[in-house]
Amino acid sequence: MIPPRLPPDPPNSGRLHPDRWIRILPEGVYVEPGGFYVDPVRPVERAVITHGHSDHARPGHDKVLATPGTLAIMRERLGEGAGAGRQPLAYGETIRIGDVTVRLVPAGHVLGSAQVVIEHGGSRIVLSGDYKRTHDRTCAPFEPVPCDVFVTEATFGLPVFRHPPDLGEIAKLLHSLRVFPERSHVVGVYALGKCQRLITLLRAAGYDRPVYLHGALMPICDLYRAQGVELGELRPATVAAKEDLKGAVVLAPPSAIADRWARRLADPVTAMASGWMRVRQRARQRGVELPLVISDHADWDELVQTLDDVGAPEVWVTHGREEALVHHATGRGIRARALALVGFEEEGA
C-alpha cells in the first residue's frame, strides 16, 4: 500500500511541524536543528541511542547520548566502539542540544531503554524506539507522552500478534519440566533483555533452582545485577556436568539451541521465548518443541492502545509490519505514514 502523502502544514498554525526539521537520511533519522541522529545505522558525529540492542546501538559514533543503563550496555557490548564521548542522561531530565530540547522517558523494552522526546518550534515529537506495555521486572515501565508526532515501531503490527500473559507462558515451561524431569530444557533467548526477563519471570513463578547459561549470556546478566536486578543463582552451562543439566533450565542464544552447542545437553526439550512463537509455522521452522510467546515488543493491542494513549494527531512508523499499523491509524483519523527505515532487525523480538 502507498503511504498517504502528508498534507502541507496548515498556514499560520504558529508551530513548526516536525516534518520541516526532521529528515530521513541514509544514516537514519536526523534532527536537523539539534545536529544529531536517533539510532543511526552508520557511524555519525552525534547520536542519541534509545537502547542497547545491536540494530539500534551501533558502533563508531563520535558522541553518544543515552541513559546510563544503555551506555553501560554499549560499553559492555561494543567496548571502544561505544563512542568516544558518552553523555549520560537520566530518565526525565531535559537538556538542550542546539536548537532543540531532549528528554529521555522509559520505553519498557529492556534495561535503560528510552523514548526520545524532542521539542522544537512549539512542536513535540516522540521517537519511541522499541517498546512494550507489559510489566517487566528488569526495566522501568513505558510512559506515554502526549505529542504532535509519535514515531513507533510495528514489529508485531498485525492483529494476529497478541502476546498472552507472560506468567502463563512460564507455567508451560514449568509444566514441561515436571512432565520431562530427565530432559534439559534449553530456551532460546536474546542475550539482552529477554534472557534477564525470563529469569525474573521464573523467579516470580517460584522457580528457585539454579539457571544455567550459555557463555554469551553471562556478561549482560552481570551488568543487570550491577544495576540492581535480582536474578538468583546463575551457573555457566558450558562447564556443567551433563548429569546436572538433566531437568535443568538452560538459556542460550537462539542460534545455539539447535546447533552443536546444544549437543552437550541431555535429550533437550527445545524451547524459544519470542513473540514470533505465536505463529506455529514460525516455531516449527525453527525446530522448536516448546514455543513460549514472550516478547519485549508491543503486540498489536499494545500498539493500538499506545496510539490512543499518546493522542498524537500524526504517527510515523519506523519498522516492522508498517502497512497494517498505518492502515489502522488512518482509519482512526490519525495521519500516518511509513518511514521505511532500513537496517532494523528483529533482535529482542
Binding site: 498485525l158 492483529p159 494476529v160 500478534f161 497478541r162 498472552p164 539447535a258 546447533d259 552443536r260 546444544a262 549437543r263 527445545t270 505465536r278 505463529v279 506455529r280 509455522q281 516455531a283 516449527r284 525446530g287 522448536v288 518443541e289 516448546l290 514455543p291 509490519r321 502497512e323 497494517a324 492502515h327 489502522h328 482509519g331
Partner: protein
C-alpha cells in the same frame, strides 16, 4: 475442548514419533469417553463436517475484524484456521461463558441444521482461547495436519493398551466413533471387539531380508519364488459392495486410484503390488510416483500413468477367510479365482520355478527389467499371518548398484539430528561440471555422521538457510537399487533407494564417476 487443544498443540510441535505416541497415550489415559473417542476419530480422519466450509469461516472472521488487516494477516500466517484463531477478538465476558467440550461440539454439528452451523461456530469461537479456536477450526474443516497418520494413532493406543497393533487393525473397521468398546478393551475392562466383516484393512504379512548365510540352511523344495515388483504393496478389499484400497500401513488410498477401484467388481480381499503398467508392461517407479503424489488424479494422469495391480495373494474369497491355509493352497485358489473373475487392470505375479538356490541366484542377478526389485521366497505351507515373522517369507533383493559421487550440498536433519548436517545431495561429473544425481540421509553410523558434519562445516562455500553448499572434495560411494529417467533432476536421472554405502575419504573427487556411467545403468 481444552485437553484436545493441548493435544493438538503438543502434536504440532513434537518432532519425534515416540513423543507423539506418548502424547496420544497420555491423552487417552486422562480423557474420559466419549471425548477421547472423538479425538481419535479426528486423528484418524474419520470425522467430517460438510457444512463448515473454509470460505464461510473466513467470512465469519471478516465480520469481526477489518478485512484489509485480515487479508494481510492471512498472507503472513498462511493458514486459514490459524489466522482466524489468532485474530479472533477476545471478549472480556469470555471468563463467564463455559467453553464447549469436544463431545458437545461434535454432537451439535452432527445434529445441527445447515443454517445453524455458522452460528454455533461463532459462539464457540467466542468462548474458546486461541489454542481452542485453532483446534476447533482444524477439527471442523477436516484436516488436523498434526503429523500423525491413522496408523501412528492406532499404534500409540495399542502400545498403551498392551495389545498388538495388528489386533487393533483387525477390529478397527467394525468400529465407529467414539469407539467405546475399543477403549474398554484397551483398558482391560472388556474383551476385544469383534473382528470386522466389512471393508476393513487386514494387516499385511511382511518378509524379512534373506541373508546369504540363511539361504544355505533352507530347503529349496519347501519354498516358492516370485518376483518382487517395484511398486507399492496394497490390499484390495471389496466386501458387501464396499470397496477400498489400502496402503501397506492401512491408510485408505482409494481416492487416488479410481482406475483400480472401478474394476473391483468382486467380493474378495487381495494382496498385490500397485504399479503403473501399460498393457501389462511395468513402467519405472518414477511413473507411479506421479500418481502417488496426488490425492485425486486428473483425467490426464489417469491416461498417462495407468495403474495396475499385480496380485500376490488371496486372503478372503467372498466371506471365506483363506489366511489359515498354506501359501500353495492359497495360490491355487488365487489362480482359480482370477480365472473365474478376470478383473481388468490386474494380473497374477508369476511364480519363478527353480531347482537350487544357485539357479535362483542367477535368475535374480540376471533380472534387470524395469519393475523388478528382486525375489520373494515364500514357504509353500505358510499361512498368511500379520506382521513380519522370520522364516516363512523372505525378500531377496538384487545386489545394489553403486556409484562414486561427490557431495555438493548438505542439509540439516530433524529431531535428534537437527544440529547435524545429515542429508546430502551428491553429484557426478558431466564434462568439468558436477551435476546432482541424488540425495541420501542414511547408511552411515553416528560416529561417521559426526565426521561428515564436521567436514561439511569446514568446507562450506555458501549457505542457503538450512542448506550448505560445500566444495567438491568428498567422495561418497552411493548404493541404490536402480536408476530411472526423470525430469525432476538436472541430470535427467533418478536413483531408487539411494543410501551412503561408504565414505571415500581417500578418493580424490576428480576420480568420482561420470553421469554417463549412471546413464548406462538405466533400465526400461
Amino acid at each position: 475442548m481444552k485437553r484436545f487443544a493441548e493435544l493438538v498443540d503438543g502434536l504440532v510441535f513434537m518432532p519425534s514419533r515416540n513423543g507423539k505416541m506418548r502424547l496420544i497415550a497420555d491423552y487417552a489415559a486422562t480423557t474420559p469417553d466419549p471425548d477421547r473417542g472423538w479425538a481419535l476419530a479426528a486423528l484418524t480422519g474419520s470425522l467430517s463436517f460438510a457444512e463448515a466450509k473454509p470460505a464461510a469461516i473466513r467470512q465469519l472472521a471478516m465480520e469481526r475484524v477489518d478485512p484489509v488487516l485480515f487479508g494481510w494477516s492471512y498472507d503472513y500466517v498462511g493458514d486459514l484456521a490459524e489466522t482466524v484463531a489468532l485474530i479472533w477478538p477476545e471478549r472480556p465476558e469470555r471468563a463467564n461463558s463455559q467453553p464447549p467440550s469436544l463431545t458437545e461440539v461434535v454432537d451439535a454439528l452432527r445434529t445441527a441444521r445447515r443454517a445453524e452451523v455458522m452460528g454455533l461456530i461463532e459462539g464457540w469461537l467466542d468462548s474458546l482461547d486461541a489454542s481452542g479456536r485453532f483446534a476447533l477450526l482444524k477439527l471442523i474443516t477436516g484436516s488436523l495436519r498434526v503429523g500423525v497418520s491413522a496408523r501412528l494413532a492406532k499404534t500409540a493406543l495399542a502400545e498403551w493398551g498392551g495389545v498388538e497393533v495388528d489386533a487393533l487393525e483387525e477390529c478397527w473397521h467394525g468400529l465407529t466413533p467414539p469407539y467405546e468398546p475399543l477403549f474398554a478393551w484397551l483398558e482391560g475392562k472388556a474383551g476385544p471387539p469383534e473382528a470386522s466383516a466389512g471393508a476393513g484393512f487386514r494387516p499385511l504379512m511382511l518378509a524379512t531380508p534373506l541373508e546369504e548365510e540363511d539361504a544355505a540352511g533352507l530347503d529349496p523344495t519347501a519354498y516358492r519364488a516370485e518376483w518382487k515388483w517395484d511398486g507399492i504393496r496394497v490390499q484390495l478389499v471389496s466386501r458387501g459392495g464396499e470397496k477400498r484400497i489400502y496402503s501397506r500401513t492401512g491408510d485408505d488410498i482409494s481416492g487416488a486410484f479410481p482406475d483400480i477401484l472401478d474394476h473391483m467388481l468382486f467380493d474378495a480381499v487381495l494382496d498385490g503390488e500397485l504399479l503403473v503398467a501399460r498393457d501389462g508392461v511395468v513402467a519405472p517407479f518414477n511413473d507411479l510416483q506421479q500418481r502417488l503424489n496426488r490425492k485425486s488424479p486428473t483425467a490426464r494422469m489417469l491416461q498417462d500413468f495407468p495403474a495396475w495391480v499385480r496380485l500376490y495373494d488371496l486372503l478372503f474369497d467372498g466371506g471365506e477367510d483363506l489366511r489359515p491355509l498354506g501359501f500353495e493352497e492359497r495360490r491355487a485358489r488365487l489362480e482359480a479365482w482370477r480365472e473365474a473373475n478376470a478383473p481388468r487392470r490386474m494380473d497374477l505375479s508369476p511364480l519363478v520355478p527353480f531347482a537350487s538356490w544357485g539357479e535362483l541366484a542367477d535368475l535374480r542377478d540376471g533380472a534387470r527389467a524395469a519393475g523388478i526389485e528382486g525375489l520373494m521366497l515364500k514357504r509353500a505351507d505358510s499361512p498368511y499371518v500379520s506382521g513380519r515373522p522370520k522364516g516363512p517369507w523372505f525378500k531377496w533383493k538384487r545386489g545394489a548398484l553403486t556409484l562414486d559421487c561427490v557431495m555438493m550440498y548438505a542439509q540439516r536433519g530433524h529431531g535428534k539430528r537437527s544440529s547435524f548436517y545429515s542429508d546430502y545431495t551428491f553429484g557426478a561429473w558431466r564434462g568439468e561440471e558436477l551435476v546432482p544425481v541424488g540425495k541420501a540421509y542414511s547408511g552411515f553410523t553416528d560416529a561417521e555422521l559426526a565426521e561428515l558434519d564436521r567436514w561439511v562445516r569446514n568446507h562450506t562455500t555458501r549457505r542457503y538457510g538450512p542448506v550448505r553448499e560445500v566444495s567438491a572434495g568428498l567422495v561418497l560411494e552411493v548404493a541404490f537399487d536402480s536408476v530411472h529417467r526423470s525430469t525432476r533432476h538436472k541430470s535427467g536421472l533418478a536413483m531408487r533407494f539411494p543410501r551412503i554405502h561408504r565414505i571415500r575419504w581417500d578418493k580424490p573427487p576428480q576420480e568420482a564417476d561420470r553421469v554417463e556411467t549412471l546413464e548406462a545403468m538405466v533400465v526400461g
